[in-house]
């Protein structure tokens, strides 16, 4: 009886704890992702499309410094072929030294990471009105509901509502905390030409694809993790049953 009363008290306490935070950001609408759930895996084609959006649009300003070109061919990712990954790498210029020791650039190789867009932080600030574009390697884990958030930012640009003043040089975005974002709307319908004929060329689709790609960039071992976890939990469940039976057997003649 007392236990029931206790449970009721806890339930009451829990229900009273939904806080009325004056939110300045709108919760990003939840999307369906192929990598959700315990069996979740990335959709290779989606990652390739997302990479295309990143390459053609985002990479003009945003770096991806924790990801290496070799990762593009790793299992569990976009799984480009080695030749494709090499060609992608060669399309980027990475810092190097020439024969006289002077700084120069060379074509990227598989071992290189995606290069920085700006040589340093000061340059990044200076070139962007004081708002340096953040590195995107971990963006999908650095925001609550990261992939939903990235997609929401992509589709969240529109005219500021009546009475809301957007500072000079900034833009209104429904899903940005505070609604003011320095980034100009990066995408428009039809901007990125997908090779796949049946995929819509819309901002919504681009946003989903690039969010999936960035989720992989932030968590490249997600598929291996989901796979290994299944085996571990099945094994531990069977082991628990065996150990429970052993335990019961040891105690069978003892009152306790």
């Amino acid at each position: 009886m007392r236990k029931i009363a206790l449970a009721a008290a806890i339930a009451l306490a829990a229900s009273a704890t939904a806080p009325a935070i004056a939110a300045t950001a709108v919760e990003p609408p939840a999307q369906e992702w192929s990598f959700d759930g315990v069996f979740g895996t990335f959709d290779r084609n989606q990652l390739k499309r997302g990479f295309q959006v990143f390459r053609e649009v985002c990479s003009a300003c945003h770096s991806l410094k924790l990801v290496a070109f070799r990762n593009l061919k790793d299992p569990g990712g976009p799984e480009f072929t080695e030749a494709e990954a090499k060609a992608i790498a060669a399309g980027f210029q990475v810092p190097s030294l020439d024969d006289t020791g002077q700084p120069t650039t060379r074509d990227g190789i598989l071992a290189d990471h995606f290069p920085l867009v700006y040589p340093n932080d000061i340059a990044a600030h200076a070139a962007n009105n004081g708002a340096a574009p953040p590195d995107l390697s971990l963006m999908a884990k650095a925001r609550e509901n990261g992939p939903d958030y990235i997609h929401a930012i992509m589709v969240g640009f529109h005219e500021a509502p009546e009475g809301f003043t957007v500072p000079e040089g900034a833009h209104y975005n429904e899903y940005m905390p505070g609604h003011v974002i320095a980034m100009a709307p990066p995408l428009k319908d039809g901007q990125v030409e997908y090779a796949e004929a049946n995929v819509p060329r819309t901002v919504d689709q681009y946003g989903k694809d690039v969010a999936a790609f960035l989720m992989w960039a932030a968590e490249p071992k997600l598929e291996a993790r989901h796979r290994l976890g299944m085996g571990v939990i099945i094994f531990l469940s069977l082991l628990s049953v065996l150990l429970f039976l052993s335990y019961r057997r040891v105690w069978r003649n003892i009152d306790h």
Partner: protein
């Protein structure tokens, strides 16, 4: 170490020779095999073994991570990501270590609350309890130091806030000494890494003392009555060791579920943003296991003799410090809450209070829960997180300083069973034919 005479007989000439010189086999036999353990210990009593398991996991994974981690403010964040991306199984080992801390604290909280519920701190177990509180303190320190190592936004600003807290009490010279500079920077990270590596081994050492104290006085048990003879106990091996294996496997299932399917459940998103000394995150939160203490700190938003900042730190320090006095604050002669009807309620309210404080410590300061109006500045006013934390803090201290001493004087305990064996027998018969005392025990299983 173990109480009572040793049951070990060397089996052959060599063992007799060894036993006369280094009685290590006798020691293992008396403490790990034949140690007499009350036969009525329930699952809440398995958490000591689980905690040892957690400590081993954290030490093993920690040693491995230290092989790849770079304690340098410019490189630390990148080296953690290197572990996550490039080191073979690095992601697995790092996620185990990261979530291992949370599971360690889940287990230690069950262990502590179990100790309070069954009065396990009462004579002759005061030293056992105090050693436990020291381990808890060391765990808090280790957890905090580990939190700073990835040098993320959360790490950097968590380190800032906590060291400034200590500075409020001990002055600026102290913080500069602690930081090794004029702000939280590379020297801070390096020394925090060194200490984070050291403290677990100190925990291990104190744990040995903790077990020594336990084996000297023997286990408490759910009835709170000391065993009266062999009919009340069973040898540790195989009876409790098999039980430990089983619960450790169960515990590992829960642990694995988080590591593999929700590895960032206990974490904060700002842990994935590299530390930036020029920008504070919108909302700094400690790890959940320290959040209750953080809530008590923030509850003090008023000056009372002392400045609120100093007072807040004193309250927070006092919240842990008071645990050292618990054996002498509780005046009841009866150990187990099973036989203390009023204390039973006070205990569960205390558990709920601690949960509410933990939750409050994770929320942004000043959030209004129940709005009663609008202030002059246009912001909502009403019952806020701070008010909730204040009520929680009052109950926290009230539980120890008022309830524990007074209840022992005024509460009428239920009659105790004669012995563990009679209590067990009563449970077995469903209480029908049991002595009056045992039959009225409110719950037969805890």
């Amino acid at each position: 170490m173990a109480s009572g005479p040793s049951t070990y007989t060397p089996s052959n000439g060599f063992m007799r020779w060894l036993d006369a010189r280094l009685p290590i086999v006798r020691f293992a036999n008396d403490n790990l095999l034949s140690f007499p353990t009350p036969k009525n210990l329930n699952y809440a009593y398995t958490f000591g073994a689980i905690l040892f398991y957690c400590l081993v996991i954290q030490i093993v994974t920690g040693i491995v991570l230290a092989m790849h981690f770079i304690p340098n403010s410019a490189l630390a964040f990148g080296s953690v990501e290197y572990i996550m991306r490039d080191v073979n199984y690095g992601w697995l080992i790092r996620y185990i270590h990261m979530n291992g801390a949370s599971f360690f604290f889940i287990a230690v909280y069950v262990h502590i609350f179990r100790g309070i519920y069954y009065g396990s701190y009462k004579a002759p177990r005061e030293i056992l309890w105090i050693l436990g509180v020291i381990i808890f303190l060391l765990m808090c320190a280790t957890g905090f130091l580990g939190y700073t190592l990835p040098w993320s936004q959360m790490s950097l600003w968590g380190a800032n806030v906590i060291t400034n807290l200590l500075g409020a009490l001990l002055g600026q010279d102290f913080t500069q000494w602690l930081w090794g500079g004029y702000s939280v920077d590379n020297p801070t990270l390096q020394r925090f890494f060194s200490l984070h590596y050291l403290l677990p081994f100190v925990i291990l050492g104190v744990s040995v003392l903790h077990v020594w104290a336990l084996h000297h006085v023997g286990n408490n048990n759910p009835t709170g009555i000391e065993p009266k003879g062999p009919q009340d106990t069973v040898p540790l091996m195989p009876y409790y060791t098999t039980k430990y294996y089983f619960v450790i496997a169960l515990f590992t299932i829960a642990f694995a579920a988080v590591v593999f399917y929700a590895p960032n459940l206990f974490g904060h998103v700002d842990h994935y943003v590299e530390g930036n000394p020029l920008k504070t995150p919108a909302h700094i939160a400690p790890e959940w296991y320290l959040a209750a203490f953080y809530a008590m700190l923030r509850a003090i938003d008023f000056n009372f003799i002392l400045d609120s900042k100093v007072l807040g730190v004193l309250v927070m320090v006092g919240a842990i410090g008071i645990l050292f006095l618990v054996p002498w604050l509780d005046t009841s002669k009866v150990r187990s809450a099973r036989y203390r009807p009023v204390f039973w309620w006070c205990f569960w309210i205390f558990v709920a209070d601690y949960a509410v404080l933990s939750w409050a410590g994770l929320q942004p300061a000043g959030v209004v829960l129940f709005q009663t109006g609008v202030g002059e500045d246009g912001n909502p006013v009403g019952f806020s997180i701070t008010h909730l934390s204040q009520i929680g803090t009052i109950y926290y201290f009230g539980f120890f300083l008022l309830i524990m001493p007074l209840l022992g004087l005024f509460e009428t305990p239920r009659p105790l069973p004669d012995s563990i064996a009679t209590a067990v027998l009563a449970k077995k018969k469903g209480g029908a034919a049991a002595p009056a005392g045992a039959a009225s025990a409110p719950e037969t299983r805890v």
